[in-house]
Symmetry: C2
Subunit: 305 residues, 2 copies
């Protein structure tokens, strides 16, 4: 029994894992995201053995369970987790094992290609690429030339099985390398190393891709604020937390707290609707945020993964 705690709907994590689990004959519990307390009750009541979600949500579940007096390790049958949709480290894998008693496997996918794509095998030495379905290349970020196995660069994917929407050399923006040495599991597909970053400035907040350019675009539509902003990302408990500092436009500057509250709430609403993720907004006085001459450095990522 697998609990799919990724969002269902246009995000391909939920329906992607749902279809995959059904294909292998698993019983799916489509909890989607939210209502963590109920997720933990269902996990106990329905004797869930595996889960698919973001690694940070899995750790958050552990904390909520603890507050409910439930130990995931001792009071549930959860033993395996397929966790992805955000970067995570070997340290996080150990923490999930130690605190929750759960064996975590990394998974990689993009909504643009076909949702979930590559998953680790039991040896956890990289994602196996289904090379009969997908042709991967690694490009040098500077020269744009293909790199040999073992060298890190941008993952570029060609889908070999799509009928209605051919995808050729799709640039994922993710940095990895191809490993073609044999995997101890015996599978002969090549593997990809775990991700080590992005070629662009995309952020992954609670499993959702966020580009600073989206924020800029959204702010440009709000007359009360300027387009200057700074993003601060941190983890509150186990969950990502994004704060956007935005400058007030000179015309909109006011001493009245109620005016500022109203503007702040409006900006939060616009950003949430555009990014699909909860954002805290802090307004600053006109002219106070840094200006950039070269490439803007608008992101402060304090998360330790």
């Amino acid at each position: 029994i697998i609990q799919v705690s990724y969002g269902y709907g246009l995000f391909t994590g939920g329906l992607g894992l749902h279809y995959g689990a059904e294909r292998i004959g698993a019983t799916v519990l489509p909890t989607s995201i939210g209502n963590t307390k109920r997720q933990i009750e269902l996990m106990q009541d329905l004797r869930v053995t595996a889960i698919a979600c973001t690694p940070s949500y899995l750790l958050h579940m552990g904390e909520v369970a603890e507050k409910m007096g439930v130990s995931i390790k001792n009071d549930t049958l959860l033993r395996k987790a397929i966790v992805g949709a955000e970067p995570w480290s070997e340290q996080m894998r150990s923490r999930i094992r130690e605190s929750l008693g759960v064996d975590a496997y990394d998974i990689y996918g993009t909504s643009e290609l076909s949702g979930p794509l590559f998953c680790e095998c039991e040896c956890k030495q990289g994602f196996h690429v289904w090379s009969d379905l997908i042709y991967p290349e690694i490009l040098d970020p500077d020269s744009q030339e293909p790199l040999p196995p073992g060298e890190r660069g941008e993952l570029v994917v060609t889908m070999l099985q799509k009928d209605a929407l051919p995808i050729i050399r799709y640039r994922t923006g993710d940095i990895t390398a191809i490993k073609d040495d044999p995997c101890p599991c015996g599978r002969t597909h090549p593997r990809l190393e775990r991700l080590s970053g992005r070629v662009d400035d995309m952020l992954i907040i609670r499993g959702i891709n966020v580009f600073p350019s989206q924020i800029e675009h959204a702010l440009l539509g709000i007359p009360e604020v300027a387009e200057h902003f700074m993003i601060e990302v941190d983890r509150k408990g186990a969950l990502d937390d994004m704060l956007v500092r935005v400058e007030l436009a000179r015309e909109a500057f006011s001493d009245k707290i109620s005016d500022l509250m109203r503007i702040r709430q409006h900006v939060e609403k616009v950003l949430k609707s555009s990014l699909n993720v909860q954002v805290s907004v802090e307004l600053t006085e006109p002219g106070t945020l840094p200006r950039f001459e070269g490439k803007a450095k608008r992101v402060i990522d304090k998360r330790l993964i």
Copy 2:
């Protein structure tokens, strides 16, 4: 192309309509709920012809579209809607046709049985019952005895095709009648009349079932408030809006607005988590809400459907 704008996850409307649409070979756009602006953009971009959602959400979409400068009638290909999960009237059907140019069909289902169950045919003279799969009975609410066709009572359903979870004489609580006269469409299955109420005090708020007893149960867990409450339901624009008035416990009564704000927010959070629907809470002074000697009348439903 059908846009499924019911919630995906444990609520069976989303995945139920999704599987049903795939079964008949339709392309499904799984937008789920939320982000109405994006829903309308996708409806235009992907040339959606049919939608499944609650009737109130469909009208809400029409209002949001109008604010975006989009006429669903003239600027989209949307022509059919399968709308249900809440009670709605023939007046609402006319309003959907006139304001949106959309032909709306009622659908009935319950998550306990198998999600979406019965749908109207093109004649719109009641839901066809798939009597090879489902055995319906109508019980007299007082005597609990089966009633003949044409007489209204509680719908009781026996599922004839379930293997793992047999369901025998499940009492839905919904009031309807069986019609066994021939349908002009030619199908020989019996039909059920459109619903005319509930035998209990269940409310349907934005497609979610809410029992006043759930609210009472949730309030009992909060020391700062008493278990006395009143529910006021109304429609804000096209969407349901639920206000719960709750009495403060004598010990918690305070003149400090910040204390009251904190309690109110806490009660809202507890109710939202328990009911799975957004609730506004108003706190009242101890002893101010009505007490009931017989059956409590805690619900004021101002919605005109």
